[in-house]
Symmetry: C2
Subunit: 477 residues, 2 copies
C-alpha cells in the first residue's frame, strides 16, 4: 500500500526535521522500544521515529508523509497485544509517537469532564482526576505505561467495564488529525449532540487507521465513598452467571467488578507466587472476585455485600466467600487476579484468546470447548479467567505438563485458534473482545466477521484514507 | 440527487408489489400520517408508501429502488421534530415504513439484553422488558407512538440520559439494510467487541442516510426497587448546577433524572393547566425535578434523598423542596414537566431550540442569552427548561405578550436562531442535542459544525451510499 519513490525519502526526512527539530526525528541508536511489540513476537524497522510535541506538528508530519506517499504508524505506550503499533520490517514507515503530547489540558468539575492529550499515561489521567476529587474509571494491567490515546485507538476494556463501559463509553469528544493532515476540532464536553454522523466512535477503536487521535475529552465520575472486594468460591460457571445476575439486581450500579477465575489459572498463581496466598481455590472449580463501590459509607457497602452473599449462599451459587477487611487485603485479591498472566508466562508459552460471548452462552461455551480441546489434545491445560461481567474471557491454552512449549505453539496454535474461534462464532461471540485486531488478527477476521460489515469497513477506510497511509495492514486490508 | 427516468417508475411499482404484495404498497387514499411531519410544518408526497414485513422485504425494496434510481425515506413512528422522516414534495420518493416489523424477537435474562425489530413502539419495548422483570430505561414524551428504530436512527435522548445515556449507549448490536440492499447481520449481544470499525454507532444517529436499521439488541437493567421524585426551588441556574453536583456525589448512579424549569415555563403550565397544581414556582426563578432510583428499598431511597436535600438547603442551593409521597404524586410532578411543551403551544407559536452545552457553561449562557434577547426584542418571553443533568436545554422563545405569534415567527425566527446558535457555538455547545438534523437544520449545520468533521461526514455518506438514495437531503448534503 505504500508508494514510495526512494528519492522522496531524504526529502521527507528533511521536511520532518524542519517541522519538529532534529531532536525529535530519530533514525539512529536504539529504537527498540518503538520497533519491538509488547509481547516481543515481532520486531519492525522504521524509516524514522518522530515525536511531535503538539497537534500542529502531528498534522505537519502527516501532511509531509502524505506528500511523500509514506505511511504513518501512530503509537502511544506501545503496550498493545495484537501488533498494531509498531512499523513493519520494510524500513519505509514513519513511526509517530504521541508520548510528548502528555498534558492534561483541563478539568471541568461542574461538567464532570477532563480534557487530555493522547500521550498522557493512563495512570496519570487517573491521578489527575483523583487530585481534583473525581474518579476516572478506566483501569487495566498496563495502566502504568499505556496512554489514553492508545486506549482510545483500541477501545480498551479492563476491570470496571461492567459498571462504566469500555474506553468508548468514557469519551465525549476528540481532536483528530485526518489522513490528509487536517485537524478535526471536536473536543466536545457534551453528553448530547446529534449534529451528524458519529465520527468520534468511528475513530475510537480504529487503531489509527482512520485518523490520529491527539486529544480527548473524557467523562469523570464522583469518587465512591468506599470500594469493597469479595472473593467467592462458586461450584460451576452456571453458578457464577447466576451470582452475576444477583449482583446486578442487588448492588445495581454498585457492582464495579466481576471477575471469574478457573481452578487451574489460580493453581498457577499459587505455584509461582505462593506468597500471594490465593484463597479458597483448592476445593472449587471457579472463584469469583466481586467489587462493590458505594457512594454512602463502608458500613452500608458491607451490609449490602453481606446481604448479597447470604442470598447467594441460600441459592447455592456460592459455597464459601471472604470480604476483604482492609484496603491492603482488597489490593491483594486484585493482585492475585492480575498475576494470572504472569504466572502463566512462568509456566511457559501458551496460546492466548481474548474472546467475548453473550453472558448466557458462557456456561455451554466453557463446557463444550473444554471437552473438545481435551479430546483433541491429550493433557491440554486450560487457563480460563476474565471479566465475566462483560462476557469477556481470556480463555488460554497451555501445553500438556512436561511437554515442549515452543513445539506446542508451533504445531498447535493455528489448530487451537480455529477450534476456539469456531466455537465462539457459533454462539454469536467475538474473537477480539478488548485487544483489537492489529496485524495479529487482520487475516483471521474475515473468517469470523459479517461479510457485509467487512465491506462497509473497507469502504469507510477507502473514503477517509484513500492513499492507505495510516497504519496500513491493521484492522482491514 | 435522484436520477429517475419517468418510465422506470411503473416498473418499480410492479417490482415493489411483487415483493411485498399489493396490500403493502400504498399509492392512493389518505397517506397523511406518512407524508405529514409531526409538528405539521411540512407535507410531502410519496411515489408510494411501502410497508415491508421483514428484513428480506426491506432489502428487496432497497434493491428495487436502487435499480430504478429512486430514493428511499425510512420512517418509524413519524414523531421526529426536524422533518427527517417524510418524503419531499416531488412524488418520486418511496416512503418505507417499518411499522409492520414490530416483534420483540428475544429476551436474554442472563445477558441483560432484548432483541427487537425496528418498528416496535418504544412503550411496547419498555413493557416487554418490565414483563420479563427488567428495565428498559429509554423514556421520552412520544414513547406511545415513536419506534425503537426511529429512536436509534435519531439517537433519541429523553429523561433518563443522566444515568443510562442516549439510545446509542443502550444499543449493543444492529441488523441493517445497506444502501445496496444487503443485510448486515450484526445483532450482537456483546458488551465488548473490538473487531473493527464501529459501524453500529455510525448507523445510530445517521437518520436513515447510511443504512436502514431493521432490528437491534438493546441493554436491559435490573428494575430498581423504587424510584422517588423530588421538586426543589432553586434561587438561580448556578445553584441548580451546584445541586446537580451534590446529587451526583451523594446519589451516584441513583440519580436517574435531573430536570430544570424556568419560572415563565412553569407559569404557562399553571395558566393553561391549573388542575396540575404546579408547586413552589411562584417565589423562585427556577425549579428542579430530581429522580432517585434505588436497588434497596423505599426507606433507603427516602433517607438518601432527604440527606441530599438537607445538604442542599445548608449550601443554599435549594430554598424549598417536596418529595413525592406516592407514585401518583411523583407521576404528577413528571406530568407537569412534560406539560410545558403543550402549555407553550396553548400560549401560541414559538421558536424552539434543542441545544446542549457543557453543564459548567449553562449559567453564563442563560444569563447572557436572556439579556441579549430581551435587549434585541422588547418584551420577548423565554421558555427555558430541559435536561440539565445532560447539559440539554429546550431554550424556546415566545413572542411578546399580546403580539401576533405568526408574524413574530415569520419575522424573527431566523434572527433569534442566529443569536441563540452563535451563543451556543461560542461556549462549545451543539445546536441539536437530541432531535437530530433532518431537513430542518441541514442547511444551518455547516455554520456551526467543524468543517473537517463535515468533510468526513460527506466522505462517509458518499462511500456507503454513492447513489445518494437513502433519505437524501437529510443530515448532510
Amino acid at each position: 500500500m505504500t508508494h514510495t519513490a526512494p528519492t522522496a525519502l531524504p526529502d521527507l526526512l528533511i521536511a520532518l526535521r524542519a517541522a519538529l527539530g532534529d531532536a525529535h526525528v530519530l533514525t539512529e541508536g536504539d529504537l527498540s522500544s518503538y520497533e519491538q511489540d509488547w509481547r516481543k513476537r515481532v520486531r519492525g524497522k522504521a524509516l524514522a521515529v518522530v515525536r511531535p510535541g503538539n497537534t500542529q506538528e502531528v498534522a505537519a508530519v502527516v501532511k509531509a508523509c502524505a506528500k511523500a506517499g509514506v505511511s504513518v504508524v501512530p503509537q502511544g505506550g506501545n503496550t498493545g497485544l495484537v501488533v498494531g503499533s509498531i512499523p513493519d520490517t520494510s524500513g519505509t514507515q514513519v513511526l509517530l509517537s504521541l508520548q510528548r503530547m502528555n498534558a492534561v489540558r483541563a478539568i471541568d468539575a461542574d461538567n464532570l469532564t477532563l480534557t487530555v492529550e493522547a500521550g498522557c499515561v493512563l495512570q496519570n489521567v487517573q491521578q489527575a482526576a483523583e487530585q481534583a476529587g473525581f474518579l476516572f474509571p478506566l483501569s487495566l494491567g498496563s495502566e502504568g505505561s499505556c496512554t489514553i490515546g492508545g486506549n482510545l485507538a483500541t477501545n480498551a476494556g479492563g476491570t470496571q467495564v461492567v459498571r462504566y463501559g469500555n474506553t468508548r463509553e468514557l469519551c465525549l469528544g476528540l481532536e483528530v488529525v485526518t489522513a490528509q493532515g487536517d485537524i478535526m476540532h471536536t473536543l466536545s464536553g457534551l453528553r448530547k449532540d446529534n449534529t451528524g454522523y458519529d465520527l468520534r466512535n468511528l475513530m475510537i477503536g480504529s487503531e489509527g487507521t482512520l485518523g490520529i487521535i491527539t486529544a480527548a475529552t473524557m467523562k469523570l465520575y464522583p469518587l465512591p465513598a468506599v470500594s469493597l472486594t469479595a472473593w467467592a468460591a462458586v461450584p460451576s460457571v452456571e453458578h457464577a452467571v447466576k451470582l452475576l445476575g444477583l449482583a446486578h439486581q442487588h448492588l445495581g450500579a454498585g457492582l464495579t467488578g466481576f471477575e471469574m477465575m478457573g481452578q487451574f489459572a489460580l493453581s498457577l498463581v499459587d505455584k509461582h507466587y505462593p506468597q500471594l496466598r490465593v484463597p479458597l481455590w483448592q476445593d472449587t472449580p471457579y472463584c469469583v472476585l466481586l467489587e462493590n463501590s458505594d457512594t454512602e459509607s463502608e458500613e452500608h457497602a458491607r451490609s449490602r455485600f453481606e446481604y448479597l452473599l447470604e442470598l447467594a449462599f441460600e441459592d447455592g451459587c456460592v459455597t464459601d466467600a471472604v470480604v476483604a477487611e482492609s484496603l491492603s487485603q482488597a489490593r491483594n485479591l486484585w493482585h492475585i487476579r492480575e498475576s494470572i498472566t504472569l504466572a502463566q508466562a512462568e509456566e511457559g508459552l501458551n496460546i492466548k484468546h481474548d474472546i467475548s460471548l453473550p453472558v448466557s452462552a458462557i456456561p455451554s461455551f466453557v463446557a463444550n470447548t473444554d471437552a473438545l480441546l481435551k479430546r483433541e489434545i491429550e493433557g491440554v491445560r486450560i487457563v480460563n479467567f476474565g471479566h465475566l461481567g462483560d462476557g469477556n474471557l481470556h480463555y488460554n491454552v497451555q501445553s500438556p505438563q512436561g511437554s515442549d512449549n515452543k513445539l506446542f505453539l508451533q504445531t498447535q496454535e493455528d489448530r487451537v485458534n480455529t477450534l476456539v474461534y469456531n466455537a465462539v462464532k457459533a454462539l454469536g461471540g467475538s474473537i477480539s473482545a478488548e485487544h483489537g485486531v492489529g496485524s495479529l488478527k487482520v487475516d483471521t477476521l474475515p473468517d469470523y466477521k459479517d461479510p457485509v460489515a467487512l465491506t462497509l469497513m473497507r469502504q469507510v477506510k477507502l473514503a477517509l484514507d484513500p492513499q492507505g497511509l495510516l497504519n496500513p495492514g491493521r484492522v482491514v486490508r
